[in-house]
Amino acid sequence: MRLRTWCPVVIVFLFNVLAAEGAVFGRLHIVAASTDPGHGGSLTDDKSCRLEPSPQVMYLKVGHVHEISVESSVDAPQWYITNKNVATIEGTGRTVHIVGIARGQAEVVVSVLREGRVERATLSIRGVSSRYTVVGWLDGSEIRPQTVAPSASRALKDDLNGPLCSWLVVVRWLAWGSPTDIVTDADRLYAKAFLLSSASNPEPPPEIDDGYSSQVKQYKLYNDYQVDADDSVIHQSALMGETPSPCRIPKSASGDRHPNNDSVFWNENQTMLMHLNEARIGREAQRILRVIDPRGPSAGWIWSLVAVDKKGTAKARSAGFPSFRVYRDGVVCGEWKQEDLARFLKAGESSEVKLGEARRLKPEDLEEACTYQLR
């Protein structure tokens, strides 16, 4: 009795398993091979062309091209795509190219005539954005305290550039809280420029991989972002670098994270999905800043904003300070040089980007994330 009840269920199950393996309806599969130089680039966990066995799904980045083919020895396969806004098929025959156009979902269907019977195979396409990484780094070569404040006092210059730099900065400024050696505005400017220049980063490389994010002394900000077909996020991290201490003190301090750091949000007219990376110098450095310039502006915020629209193209915006470098799938594709140091120092709190303001941004308020040609 029990066997009679379960038998049809078992038969249906076995039938489905065999069908999935191609045993019942023949072996018609779509095989994807990447022809995109960016594919599998230096960023690991790259989902630009991931084929999952069942059901077959391909992650296709906007602007990227992949080769797909049908493996059966059949003639004149017919290809079509269900949503031409997401991708297009180029070419005919057993091997064609599929080009990512926009974020979204579609299906590529191939049909062949074999032994008088039509067989079909389907490949699901997820059109995703490229992976954008914006690295903020302090270019020390652009900050020369002597040029910024040539009239600063001799004693201050000697102390900061001499062997007793840490004695002045750590003991007297930080621990005791006394603005020793600081008398004039030029002294204040010199001291700030000196502290910033000693916290500079090396120039980011032309290509980065996931390991770069853990090298916290290489950057000030690290904004990593990739958006999926359905507006969910594939990659999202908003990190702050560690600031090396001045005066060759063997210590680093982490920055002060903005409460809105790592926020993902839509702009008001729902055209762009944005990711914010925002931070500033850490508590100890802020304390030193208050000591050397108690009436001056507080520490300024640095930030970068990456916005991906529904098509999957990216725009970005950053604070004018420090320098920023944009990477598409791990390869540098654009950059912004840091603006005038004095302007950043004067801006203080006003350099902060607020979520409300960011939400009101329109595409035309942002710049193209990538201004270089992909290599």
């Binding site: 006092s153 001799r154 004693a155 201050l156 000697d158 102390d159 001499g162 062997p163 007793l164 004695w167 003991v171 621990a175 005791w176 809280g177 006394s178 603005p179 020793t180 050696d181 008398v183 108690p294």
Partner: protein, 242 residues
Amino acid sequence: MYLSVALVLALASFSIDTPSQPDEAIRRDLILQFHREYAATKSPIDRLMIASKLARIGDLTYRRWLRKEAEKAVRNGREQQRSRFRIHFGPWKSYDPNEIAPTGSSTGRSPYEETIDVTAERKPSENETDVWRMFAFAASATPQEKRLLLRGLESANGLVSGSAALGLARLGEVKSIRDIKAAAQRHEEARPIFIEALVYLHDDFGTQTALELSGGDDSLIKSLQVIAESNHFDPFYLPNNH
């Protein structure tokens, strides 16, 4: 008539010497704030600094502790100077003069005993703590405590010695100019601190000595003079006492 004039003058001088009401209120607020900060922090460095700031505004709660910490720094500085000592091992067994002597034996001594010279080095963190100790003490030392500062000046640690020199400068101890100069000559790496201390003394002989120590660098001395003046000749000057 004369009596009333004298009374008015006495009252006037009293009002000059006594802090005004708002100043006293600010001082009391500061004392409360420092006590709160002291209770809130566990960092020994922060505690030393707060204790010193309290002493500077007349709250002597931690005065004895500060002094003891400074004495520790002085003691450590002295120990550092005497850190070379000898250790004698053996004899490990009775000496037979006919036996072939092991290598490394000293002349006229059993080969089974040995004397070695040991140079002890203090841990860097302890040396650093000594600097904080002396710095905090020097920032709030009273003229009665100048002997401890003079002992600090003799420290083998350049920054401890430099902190003591700044403390002496704060007290206007012009009699210590020669001692400061001698300390500067002992601690080449910390020489700028001693030069600064001599300038803060605001004394012709001190300035002359500072100029000499700087190798005749007139522009450096002038720059230090401007700074010292803006800091009211207090090397530990704190705007608004905090």
